[in-house]
Structures are given as structure tokens and as C-alpha cells.
Symmetry: C2
Subunit: 351 residues, 2 copies
């Protein structure tokens, strides 16, 4: 993949914020969305980073995606628990506001939860967590999309639900543990990438519409469509399947807006939970424990000595540090897309 020259994080931030604002976003929304997408890019989530800017702005310009802070509606609030209706506002803004609301509950009474329905695309869940772990809080995000069905039930053939990721940021004495895992074997994005590259998947994790396990993208992109196996695959898929149902319940179930409503527009149900360890055994005991566990894990012998055991998020945080030090290189395609969007909005290109 061709890489561009490296840009500083403030340069990219200013450029992308300006794009969002010119396209009609409030300053606050532009700032929050830019921060989340840049964070995804820094953590190395290239499919959920700055490549999304042009797509998000296309959505705004077509009118499908909203970008005013006031459009995000707080439907209920107990002080600890709240529900937001995103009305298809840019997802990173919806989820960030939900996390802030959950964190308020957590710092007041130990735990807070905020649910969002109808958020526009919410990007990379891992990109939301560090601001909370930096404050000594555990932050969790669950999401599903009731307008999409691509994963099958355990033992079933038909596609029913989304990969339904669970993400969490866990403070330690050092770098946080950042996990972000789907309850399916693979994501839809990977299946699409393999199709585009003309290759099979690395493992047989697809189910054809006739009930055959397959590694061929064509067996997924068929009519009727195939599906993706739950985490655990054919043998232990009852576990990924059960956890995915839990994610559906915590997101679309609590949101009061889900598959029963047959939504046609892509839109996430997202649930955020924040916990403050100070209300339990204390922050010090908590980070002592998570640091001790981290040390046990990192000290464990590797099956392949060339690939030492790592903590979730460790590789991403290293890329992030490097990018902050040396600047962020974009793929040529992302830069071209950004500059095309800039031209469309009559703004100067990023050079």
C-alpha cells in the first residue's frame, strides 16, 4: 500500500475538523468526530480511521446523516442511566456523549450506563476508551445494527444478526488494556476485503445458503446470502452465539428500537457502561491487580518464540505512540479521498 508523507496529528485534526464544519457540522460535533476517527487511525485501525471521513461527509451531504449536536435527543435520564435517540447524528458524537453521560453516573455512584439508538456509523470502538482509562475508569461499549443481519445462529444457516462487538478499556498502572472483539468469527469487512482481493478467507468461517461451511466469499455474497459463523465456530459457536444475543439485548433491546422495527437505514444501537473502581476495592487495588495480571500474561512462554504473548490493545498503543512521535502516514487512497472531499467543499487540499 502506497504511503503518503507523514502529517502531524494537529495538522490532520485541523484539516478534518474544517471538512466536517464546512459540510455543516457544529464545531463541537466536528471536533469530537475528528478526534475519534483520528484515534482509530492512530491505533492502526485503517478500516475505521480517517478513511471514514469522506464516507461520513457524503452521508451528511446526501442528508441521511445529521451533524448538529441538538439533533441528538436525550430521551431519559435517571442520573445513572440514560437513553439517547441519535436520529442518525454522526455516530462518534453520539457514542462519545453517551460515554460522558455514563461516566458522570460512574463518578457519582460507581456505575453509569447510556444507551443510544439510531446513531450513524460509530467507527472503531477501541478509539473511544483511552480518555476514560486515563481517568481511572473502566469503559465498555457494546453495539449492534438492527438493519443488518449477517451472522447465523449456532447450528443455523440463515443470517440473523450483526457481529455485535464488545469493547472495553481497563486501567492498569501503565498503558491501559484496550479490547475490541466481535462475537462472530470474522467481520463483514474482512469478507468484503477477501472478495475484493479475489482470495478465500484464511479459515472456513462462512456458511453457505445451503448449510455448507465454506471459506469462499462467493458463498456469502450469494442469493439468498450466506452467513458468518459465530465466535467459537462449528464446535464452540454456542458461546459466541449466546454472547451475541446478550449484546443484542443490551443494545437494541434496551434502546427500544431494533429488528422488530425493520429499520432500513444503517444505524447503530450502542450501549456504554462506565465503572469507577473507587466505589469498590479502590483504584489502587484495581490497578495493582490488572498490572499483576498483565505481568503474568506478558511473562508467559510463547508457543512461537517469534511472537511473544501480547495484551489486547498493546500493538495498537505502540503504533499510536509511534504515529504521535513521527507523524501519521496515510494511504494514498485515503489522501486522495480526503482531497476530493475538500475540493467538493471548496477547501484547500492537504498537501
Amino acid at each position: 500500500m502506497t504511503q503518503t508523507k507523514r502529517y502531524t496529528s494537529p495538522t490532520l485534526t485541523a484539516f478534518v475538523e474544517q471538512l466536517f464544519e464546512k459540510a455543516g457540522a457544529d464545531t463541537e460535533v466536528a471536533q469530537v468526530v475528528t478526534r475519534v476517527l483520528l484515534e482509530g487511525e492512530l491505533l492502526g485501525h485503517r478500516t475505521h480511521g480517517l478513511n471514514l471521513v469522506s464516507r461520513y461527509i457524503d452521508g451528511m451531504l446526501s442528508g441521511q446523516v445529521k451533524a448538529r449536536a441538538e439533533t441528538l435527543e436525550q430521551v431519559s435520564d435517571s442520573g445513572i442511566s440514560s437513553l439517547f435517540d441519535g436520529h442518525y447524528v454522526l455516530g462518534p458524537y453520539c457514542v462519545s456523549r453517551a460515554l460522558d453521560s455514563a461516566a458522570k453516573g460512574a463518578t457519582a455512584q460507581g456505575i453509569g450506563i447510556a444507551v443510544v439508538r439510531r446513531a450513524a456509523h460509530i467507527g472503531c470502538l477501541a478509539a473511544y476508551l483511552k480518555p476514560f482509562t486515563d481517568r481511572g475508569l473502566i469503559a465498555m461499549v457494546y453495539s449492534s445494527d438492527p438493519s443488518v443481519g449477517v451472522v447465523c445462529a449456532h447450528g443455523g444457516i440463515d443470517p440473523i444478526y450483526t457481529p455485535n462487538p464488545i469493547a472495553a478499556g481497563i486501567p492498569t498502572r501503565g498503558a491501559p488494556i484496550l479490547l475490541d472483539v466481535s462475537m462472530s468469527t470474522v467481520t463483514l469487512a474482512l469478507v468484503g476485503q477477501c472478495r475484493d482481493a479475489g482470495s478465500n478467507l484464511p479459515h472456513p468461517v462462512l456458511m453457505s445458503n445451503e448449510g455448507q461451511v465454506s471459506d469462499a466469499p462467493a458463498d456469502f455474497f450469494s442469493t439468498p446470502p450466506g452467513s458468518i459463523l459465530p465466535l467459537g465456530g462449528q464446535t464452540f459457536g454456542h458461546k459466541g452465539f449466546a454472547l451475541a444475543i446478550l449484546v443484542e439485548a443490551l443494545t437494541s433491546g434496551l434502546a427500544g428500537h431494533g429488528r422488530k422495527d425493520g429499520p432500513e437505514q444503517w444505524g447503530a444501537s450502542a450501549t456504554t457502561v462506565v465503572i469507577d473502581p473507587r466505589f469498590f476495592g479502590g483504584l489502587e487495588a484495581f490497578t495493582d491487580e490488572t498490572s499483576f495480571l498483565s505481568k503474568l500474561i506478558l511473562g508467559s512462554r510463547a508457543v512461537d518464540p517469534q511472537r511473544p504473548v501480547r495484551l489486547p490493545g498493546q500493538a495498537g498503543l505502540k503504533l499510536r505512540e509511534q504515529a504521535l512521535d513521527e507523524g501519521v502516514g496515510l494511504s494514498q487512497k485515503v489522501l486522495d479521498d480526503l482531497n476530493q472531499t475538500a475540493a467538493q467543499l471548496q477547501l484547500p487540499a492537504l498537501t
Copy 2:
């Protein structure tokens, strides 16, 4: 397995409660523990049902396990969040009290959480959930045991942590969805059962102490010991591994008592979270959504037409209904153990 005649649920309840009381438990503790163990039995969890009664009472008689309600200490309480120190009180009593505390928070403000450290063995997590789903609440239980390490890190060899189950009860318009899944491929109990039966595991989910994947229990019960692969196995084990770390953080991390303390006595860290859908999109919208999802799942075509797709907990709830209708048959071994315990306590046998 030889089955005894069938006993009614009230007969078994009265018999087991009497055993616990005679062995020194408070009435309240005896009642709660009996209810949870019988519920495990009814749901078909034969390894986490009434077979545990004699083991629990042995623990009480040896002095390791406590059975007075007042020994369970509430360390903190914000109204929504609380921490208990079980001081090795019978686990089902500790977890039930924690769930009650979390449910109080949930019905007051939408969500409640209670963490327990040093609970004695807590039995079958699925057995705690139905009283809460019957009230229209989502109930979740996470657990780990910081004195035990049997599962390896993804890509690692050495055993580090426990299978770390996640359980949840989800209300629908009909029977609840009850899930209870470990974040490892298999549980320690299964590895032990295979060893005792002289058989290999059905799948290669063990890691020998030399880093070879294996299906032979001998590769686990070796010196130094082998380990169990995380959920997801060799290919997708980073997901089960990440979720297991989250469970460690939510249980032993919040409890302020974990692996860092090097506990030697078997004792669970358990975290309970209860959510009331009425504070979000409403109970009706919630159960409409979970029922709709259930219908989609149950209506999906099965890979093997002889094995229709099922919801988590469905098989157990069917066994439960049957047992309540027709009585509960015990294995001859469980009956013998119960009666030996009764004799030891100078109580009449169950006939």
C-alpha cells in the same frame, strides 16, 4: 447412570435445608443455598446441582466454609454499587445477596452492580437468573477464582487464569433466555471427566507444557501442568482471551482481591449487574425486541434438520418444567452421598 425414583421439589428442598441447618447454617443461608443448588439440578446442570450439597457441608464441617449470614460483610454501598467480602461464606448465599443488592439499584435508577470477593464455591451461574427475569430485569453474573490458573493466554503456553464465565438472564414475552458460557474452550470439569473416563477430549483444546496442542487429559494433568485454550481456540483465541481479561478486571479487579494476593483457598470473585429496561426504552419494547429476535432465531433453518436451532437456556428450562411436573430423579451416587451426609449429621435418610 443409575437413576433413583423421583422426588418432589418440596421434598428435596426440606431435606437439603435440614442438612445445611444441622451442619450449622442459618435458616436464611440454608434456604438460599438449597434453592440455588436445586435450581441447578432442575436445569440439568448435574455437575452443579445437588451433587454439591455433600461437598459444601464437608467444607462447613472442616471449618473452611462459613454459613452464617452475618459473616458476609458489606464493605461499601453507594445505593447503586456495592462490594461484599464473603469471608468464604457459602457462595450461593453471597451471590444471591449481591444480586439482590444490584437489583435494588436497578429498580431505583436503572442499573445496579455488586461485587463479592472470597465467596466459597458459587455453583451454576444460570441457576441465579430466573427470579430476576421473572421481574422483568436483566441479570448478569461474571466470575473468576484468583487461587486457580488453568487457561493460557492467546499464543501462550502457561496456565494463568480461570475459565471466567459470563452468565445472563434476559426477559422475553415468554420463557427467559438464560446464557452461561465460559471464556475458555472447555471447563476444567470436562477435562477431569475425560481423564476419569480414560478418554480424550472431543477436540484438541488443551496446550501441553511444551506448547503442543493436544486432546489428551494427560497433557493437562502433567508437571508442570498444561493449560486449556481460550474460547476461539488457536485461530480466534485472542477474542476469548480478551473477554477473559475483562472478566478478571470486573471480578477480582473491582473486588480488590485477586491473583496479586496469592490466595490459596478456593474462593470466587463474582460480580453481579442488574439492569431495569423500564429506565430505557421500556419493558414492553424490550421484550418485544427479545421475543422478535428469538422468533427469528428459532425460525432459522438448521444445518442438521435433526437438531433444530435453540435459544440459550431453552433445553435447561424444558428439563426444569419436566422435573417440576414429574419429580426430580437423582443419580444413585448423589443420593448415596446425600444420605451419607444425613447419617453423619444424625438425620434420617431420604428414602
